[in-house]
């Protein structure tokens, strides 16, 4: 051993960094193709990553962002929980508990690790994190807004060993399987998680073999430095200053009170501090443990700078995050956290984007539709077996960003298009539910030079027995998805149950029992707009009307574009008048216009 650091050349650094990325992608393929649980094999609610022996993130696949940007907490939780002597090749570690060294966010997300040994020492860790259809607790699927405490939300797993010497520890596995509602699926999925990690380990051994460990270690260090440098250069382009803003969630599921998330961003040359002081004291159900809060903050930042930076540990270094203990963004035991990713995860991203928008309005997205996710469970009519379904099909549209209209249906922002919505056909084949409508919702997006993406209308019919239904997310009754740089906010999301002639309004984060033949209907908001709607070319507005994205009325009121109601022909003279008047109104103070 010479102890000398090998010289790394930029091409090796790039090739090795990309090789690690492709390993995480390949690990993801194992999960996608071999798991049995619908939320994994169809909707892709998992993530994979590689860390070094210090728990520094080296590579992560482009999976569900709200997992990904907080995974380094779990890597470090192992190192805090186990001594070097206890860690052996062939081990698999498992954890989900936010209150054990930040080893989780909500109990549904289970994280698995396997060390990769070289010359008798763990030099890398491969990881996968996956949402479980059920993890015990008082309600199927772990979502209970009224849960007394986190004990009531499900099985709490601090960092533990699940496998030793490549063998499952039977008593641990038996204990777990005895405490979940879908033990057969989980038994099989545990094989998939282990398989995914094993593949990651094999591939890393190949990489060590090929490049030699010293060059590999030096290259990943160089790659982290390179990402850090790139991130610092991006922050340097944001004007120095202190920016502050706040957003509100509709409620926490236990009360009707809105939930405030506050953010103060200080940009100083090449570093940035994101301070959530002023966010509310911890509540119920929606509380966001640190890994989730970090992930949210970084999603807001990553999407507002160049997408070319590779997201390894280096990009985290220039950013400090402050989240006061005992608040909704850093709860303490025994606060419940079941809905942290789905609710506060989105609001944390929102507040970061809204605040950053003050500094760089043309680089930051307008607000997205929050989660509006239908969770169903009940007994199958044919067998009486329990089923559960999360399909994500109700989710709305994305905010626009300068230069680009938003996309329909790719909300929520905490997934940013990384969750794949269920196929209707697969859903109907697996569950006693039928879908009657799955369509874009007219006028649901915020107007702007660049329009928000549309939300959707969805109609489900219960073909089974009495079933449990909970709508996870936020209906934007506290605030619609915001506009950016003169763009308009979007609208609200709604949900109701139709039972015969009755129409029963549905509140988010509350359990309902739906009866056979009931319809569940959701209408989601789109995203906010960016830039002055009057500057959107009239021809584009007309096209939006022809395709039913925007109504004739809203073309007129939001965009100042006059169309013939019957033929949809553009009335250029009237449009010029409307737009001229609106602009004059703006010039002479908006107050009057607004009250008109």
């Amino acid at each position: 051993m010479t102890g000398e650091t090998p010289r790394v050349d930029p091409l090796s650094v790039a090739v090795i960094q990309n090789r690690l990325l492709s390993i995480t992608e390949e690990m993801g393929v194992v999960l996608l193709r071999t798991t049995r649980s619908q939320i994994l094999n169809e909707c892709h609610d998992f993530s994979t990553a590689i860390f070094n022996q210090h728990g520094e993130l080296l590579a992560q696949a482009e999976d569900v962002p709200i997992h990904v940007a907080g995974n380094h907490f779990m890597a470090r939780a192992i190192l805090k929980s186990f001594s070097a002597e206890e860690i052996a090749a062939g081990d698999i570690y498992l954890m989900n508990d936010p209150y054990s060294h930040n080893a989780g966010a909500h109990l549904q997300d289970w994280t698995f690790f396997r060390p990769v040994f070289h010359e008798g020492k763990p030099v890398f860790w491969v990881m996968c994190r996956a949402h479980q259809m059920d993890e015990g607790g008082s309600m199927p699927m772990g979502f209970n807004p009224l849960a007394y405490d986190i004990i009531a939300e499900g099985l709490r797993i601090p960092p533990i060993k699940l496998h030793e010497k490549d063998q499952p520890i039977r008593s641990v596995v038996d204990l777990i399987l005895q405490n979940v509602r879908f033990p057969a699926e989980l038994r099989a999925d545990l094989l998939a998680f282990a398989g995914c990690l094993k593949l990651g380990e094999q591939r890393l051994h190949e990489v060590i073999e090929k490049y030699g460990y010293p060059l590999l270690a030096a290259s990943v260090d160089a790659a982290m430095e390179s990402s850090e440098k790139a991130m610092r250069a991006e922050i340097a382009r944001i004007p120095n200053g202190v920016y502050e803003d706040e957003v509100y969630a509709d409620h926490d599921g236990a009360t009707d009170q809105t939930v405030r998330v506050r953010c103060r961003i200080t940009v100083e040359d090449e570093s940035m501090c994101v301070d959530f002081t002023g966010s509310e004291a911890q509540r119920r159900f929606i509380n966001s443990p640190l890994p989730n809060t970090y992930a949210g903050a970084f999603i807001g930042i990553f999407t507002s700078v160049t997408p070319d930076i590779i997201h390894n540990e280096g990009c985290y270094r220039p950013v400090t995050i402050v989240a006061p203990e005992g608040s909704v963004v850093n709860p303490v035991y025994p606060a419940t956290t079941g809905c942290c990713t789905l609710v506060l995860g989105c609001h944390i991203i929102d507040v970061v984007m809204k605040t950053l928008g003050q500094a760089i309005p043309r680089q930051v997205s307008a607000g997205w539709a929050s989660h509006f996710t239908i969770n169903l469970s009940g007994r199958r009519p044919e067998s009486g077996e329990l089923y559960a379904n999360v399909n994500f099909c109700g989710n709305g549209g994305s905010g626009a960003i300068w230069g680009y209209d938003g996309w329909p249906h790719i909300a929520p922002v905490n997934c940013s298009g990384g969750i794949i919505k269920a196929s209707i056909e697969m859903l109907e084949m697996r569950n006693p539910w039928q879908v009657r409508e799955y369509a874009l919702r007219t006028d649901s997006a915020g107007a702007g030079t660049y329009r928000g993406g549309l939300g959707v209308s969805l109609r489900f019919v219960n073909h089974g027995y009495d079933s449990h239904f909970i709508l996870l997310g936020d209906d934007h009754s506290a605030a619609p998805p915001f506009g950016q740089d003169g763009g308009k906010p979007a609208t609200r999301s709604r949900c109701w149950i139709e039972r015969g002639d009755e129409r029963l309004p549905v509140r988010t984060k509350q359990h309902y029992v739906v009866q056979p033949g009931d319809h569940i209907v959701t209408e989601t908001t789109g995203g906010g707009g960016v830039g002055d709607p009057l500057a959107r070319p009239a021809a584009l507005v007309r096209e939006d009307v022809v395709n039913g994205y925007v109504s004739v009325e809203r073309a007129r009121s939001d965009y100042g574009v006059a169309l013939d109601t019957a033929t949809l022909a553009l009335d250029e003279a009237a449009t010029a008048r409307l737009r001229g008047r609106e602009r004059a109104g703006e010039a002479h103070g908006r107050g009057e216009e607004k009250s008109a």
């Binding site: 091409l11 790039a14 090739v15 990309n18 990325l21 492709s22 390993i23 194992v30 193709r33 071999t34 798991t35 049995r36 094999n41 169809e42 482009e62 962002p65 699926e185 099989a188 094989l191 998939a192 398989g195 094993k198 593949l199 999603i299 999407t303 997408p307 997201h311 997205s365 994500f392 099909c393 989710n395 994305s398 960003i401 230069g403 680009y404 209209d405 996309w407 329909p408 249906h409 790719i410 997934c415 940013s416 298009g417 990384g418 919505k421 196929s423 209707i424 056909e425 109907e428 039928q434 009657r436 409508e437 799955y438 369509a439 874009l440 993406g453 959707v456 109609r459 022809v546 039913g548």
Partner: protein, 687 residues
Amino acid sequence: MYRMAIDVGGTCTDGVVVDSGGAMHVVKVPSTPANFVEGFVACLDQAAEVLRLSLDEFLSRLELLLHGTTITTNALLTGAVAKTGLITTKGFRDILELRRGARSTLYNYRVTFPPMLAPRHLRLEVEERVLSTGDIMTPLREADVYRAVEQFKAAGVEAVAVSFLFSFRHPEHEQRVAKILAAELPEAYVSISSEVLPRVGEYERTSTTVVNAAVGPPLRRYLDHLEHLLRRHGFKREPLIMQSNGGVLPAGAAWRHAVGSLLSGPSAAIPAALLFAATLGTRSVISVDMGGTSFDVALVNNGHMQTTMEKSINHQRLALPMLDIHTIGAGGGSIAWVDAGGLLHVGPHSAGADPGPACYGRGGADPTVTDANLVLGYINQEHLLGGAIRCDRAAAAQAIGAKVAEPLGISVSQAAHAVATVVNHNMADAIRLVSVRRGHNPKEFVLCVAGGAGPAHAAELAKEVGVPRVLIPKTAAAYSALGMLHTDLMRSYVETFFTRLENLSLPRLNELFERLEREGVRTLQEEGTPDVAIEVVRSMDMRYLGQIHQVEVPAPPGRLTQAEVRQLAEAFHRKHHQTYTFSDARSEMEIVDCRVLVIGRLAKPPLRPAPPAAGLEAARKPARPAYFAALGGYVETAICDGALLGAGSLITGPAIIEETAMSVVIPPDFQCTVDRYGNYLLSEVQA
């Protein structure tokens, strides 16, 4: 007797003709986008001329005509698709646009929403509903279909896709709509999802069907016209159309399945690349093909041709098995333009063959990569397309001057160099995407550079990406056509056969396999191709109960026995273990699909050695100035006639080798040797 392969690209039409003895001729003519058939026939004409035959004589001696077509790919890339309507189950017309709410770039929000091939106002709903069991909940309301027909008529729709929920379980509703459309809209190209992709997954099936409809009419028009002409000249067989799965289909079958001909020509690059890589003793090759309109790149790692069902072309999702080829809009005809912010772009729009680059003098006013190469002295103005087109250097310089140099405030030569540099970077990014980005080190691969425009950029590309060995086939200009001569007739059949292994009915399974095989073998025999050895390959897609993705397991021929089924189960466990590192002996298994691939093996022409070197002097042509940034601008550059270079020649840069349809540019720090087959090997000279 002869065999010929013709690859019609956006800009050039390339042909390779081989006689029974393996003697090969390459011909190349300009493509004729207004009517691609003309270029095709011109290519046949030229081949006949080379063989000193009349067209009719040549066609009567032609035993095999293989054809790669860019019609469908071009249509998708340029948006010149048919005006397409879509009929869906009531409540589901937006499935196509909802795209399952996914986007591949999670942290990059600056992405334009993909164009809708069937725009929302042409997506119409009809009352009908089939349940997941295949039972009918709501019968088809034909009045709705007739109303849709009226709307489509009024809108001038040329193609109609039909995609109903669960049509793979109950295709009758779609079939009925197809009948009504055939009667009421007889001109329209009709595509139904239960035929295009009879598989579960409404978005993937609908998107694939809509793509099929949108590119169908252009392909149908083309093939109709082509076959008509061929018949008139006495060709009695059907041309075989190159498919994206790596095989070929007779024209009559190909037009119904238009989506299968996407990336038709580029798919033939893979057999070509493997053929040339083998001459260097490797099976790891990055194949790049720069034609007039597009740049196609594919990576073959140790002989393994990657296929994928996860493909999108121009953001349009295609769920068919295709060779994994990455395409970008970069070619000789790619137009250079300066945006409002003063940034230079090259492509993705192409001047194609008509009007073509400004230097063609056919009215093209936009500067292209070819114009830049001409201004830089890399290509010979007398020589483009083997002298078929005389180029106007002044027109090229003028176009670059007006549209690039002036807005950027630089000289014309600097502007031409900038255009070449930008297009090189675009292409290098595409190469990195299939290599570095997927964890392959380009250093370990041979870069096989082809296409009429590729060899002029080969050295700069290799330098940019870091590939040490570059091979430019002597026949680079007809690369895909050559590759086609190394393909086979291929018919693949998939039929869904949902069953738990423990409930398997052997007689039903045997009956299914036998039926598919009979059909496949008969079809291949009917296609009447001589000396074809037919092979049948069976497989089954299996999975563990609860999984939704399958593993393909080879199945033995003949009547399957219980013992063989047990072996299949073992094979499935094994393959699952090999692929995913584990298997699950406790789990029940399902058979999802049965597959039969019927292959008609075609004889492959051998590579012929080139004559030995006769000395460089013999090949020397008059020198001319060419631009090399490393040397500070234009320098007097040696020109060699490729036709007169023999095996073993060594040429050091700066120099240019001119072939009939391409120019190999050897920059100052590169050298080129001619190998025993006459192919060019470029490598950097170590300083």
